[in-house]
Amino acid sequence: MPNGSSGKILHVNLTDNEITEELFGDDLYRLFPGGKGLAGYLLLRDLPAHTDPLSPENILILANGLLTGAPLSTATRFTAAAKSPLTGGYGESEAGGYWGPELKMVGYEAVEIKGRAPSPVYLAIIDGQAAICDARHLWGQEPDWVEMQIRAELVSDKARVLQIGLAGENLVRYAGLTHELRHYNGRNGIGAVMGSKNLKAVAVRSSSGRYTNFAAHPQALLDLGKRFSKEAKNHPPSWDLHEKGTLPLVSAFNAAGMLPTHNFQSGSFAGADHINWETIEQEILSGHRSCYACVIRCKPEVKPGGKYNLSQTYGGPEYEAVSGFGSDCGVDDLGAVAYANELCNRYVMDTISTSATIAFAMECFERGLIGLDDTGGLELRFGNAGAMLQAVEWIARRQGFGDLLAEGSYRAAQKIGGDALDYAIQVKGQELSFHEPRGKVAVGLGFAVSEIGADHLVSIHDTLLQNPASVSFKGAQALGINNALPARLLNDEKVSQYFLFENWVSLGKVLGLCYFGPAPRSFMQACDVVAAVQAASGWEIDLNELLKIGERATNLARMFNVREGFTRADDRLPERMFQPLKGGALTGVAYPREEFEQALTHLYRLKGWDPGTAAPTRTQLEKLGLEFLVNGR
């Protein structure tokens, strides 16, 4: 019976110009049903420890989730994974859009790419036929031209082209991937890995594939899809994403004193009204676009023109880019913020790490750790929009001072010296996304323990769970949450809630669900996720087994890092978080240091990890069906 999977992985060795297929069975798939789980398994199986992330030996995995491409709103995402050149650990980044669904339809669950081509190439997978094609003429070109050219060469105007940009070619350590010119695997520098392989793009197209060909109960999935569409429209937090995307967070966080400002020194930005949703809607927003089969349609589009001659080619800014280039860099010029986002999209590099690294440099400049001689004449002060935009350009090109910033804030701080490391707001080398741990302590815990370095999509944010009568909290109750806890309370119960949601969110990354699908953030209730998996896979499976799948995937990522030498000391927060916020409604509030250490210990125990080393115990690995990792440790 179909189980939601084609049972096939495509292996590509760019050094040997060799393409092969691997078949896998239901037993393996039930343990690692795609996405983060399958990618983690393949990396641990096939990638030797201590591989240089930018060497030919690193492995790039592009993996669909079990539900990627299913006719369900928000079931669109795929995982791009490799050893990260930014963190030196497990690297992973998800994107929605259309590429993952197309790969599913063409008949592969994952593509595993190793080696390095002698000159630039792209990989084409068209109706089950895969080929490595010359891309020397595409190297250095902009994504819109590259996409058009590849479609012309493949005689397929509907080919989905996943590609790197200038930043990936130049090995910027936080370069990403893009497809359809507006969907991004932003984090962890996977684009630099792809660039190091001389791989410009991976194009996929299926002229006749359907997800339902692989599903155990296709009609049940279609019925669920229809119901989900209605429920998304009737769920206010979900439908607000349709109407406004993520941009309302700017005003809400500013009012709450949690809008990261001036490199996380303050939680309140005087210019917030210039970059909030209302202003963006009036001045630059032209509408929204969607991902595959998703009714939410949260991706913003901008009007062309204006002072910075904005282009519609690469999509508009979302919350992270607005807070990063806006409040965190102290810039209240909306056009400049949107243009910085456009540049990152054009050069295909992470808006979060780019803006955070520039904010770090601004603080170093203002504190006198670097001067005009170091920055090539750039007056890198908070609020200087022109300097910020120039820095983005230089980073993508690794030009002048941009070459240092292209290394990320952690490495740049080490070279700058002095107190610079105190101003690098990062964990494991990856910059914090723009969520204030001092106002949302479980988000801070997630920043600290996340295997990919600081990221906001590893658990559920505290603010969604502090009001027991809210729609969000009701969505959490089906997962076993009974008590609403204040957002700034860090105790054992909060840690237990964090652990549950970490497994739940990790499951979403295995299945290919967007963060904006499942409860408590959105409309898809716990029983709906179970029903969707049952319909796709035909498995008799319950919520507990699904949560174990999420937990298993996190343990794989953790074991990858353990193998690389990561320890409890790497599960940390930037020192700034333990200092009081200056400015805004949370002035004077610091992350509770003592409770943090207690929380880590409690969390490791819940996870079955050794509290001393932060590594999974042998018993835990066996419990999760990961015995094969016991001897490889």
Binding site: K244, L249, S251, A252, A255, E278, D462, L464, R521
Partner: protein, 85 residues
Amino acid sequence: MAGEFPVQPVKLTLGGYLSSYDAQRRSRLQLNLEQSMLLSELLLQLDIPVSEVDLVAVNGEQTNLAEAWIAPGDKVELYPPMGGG
């Protein structure tokens, strides 16, 4: 009439998805109040569920919804539970 000043409206922001509870889905409203009143009473009149209000700021100061009084001319911001994304 000499000696009378126009009453300043209350400027109400319905942040995030709270605007979905307004019939016209507005995120910014101006309301004319004749006198001070409890904010929770006003929300009742506007059909905005207090269960979805997570943060209240009156004239830029955070306050507790149950205790919040508003007066003509006040700037009131309401936000639902928000996080992630």
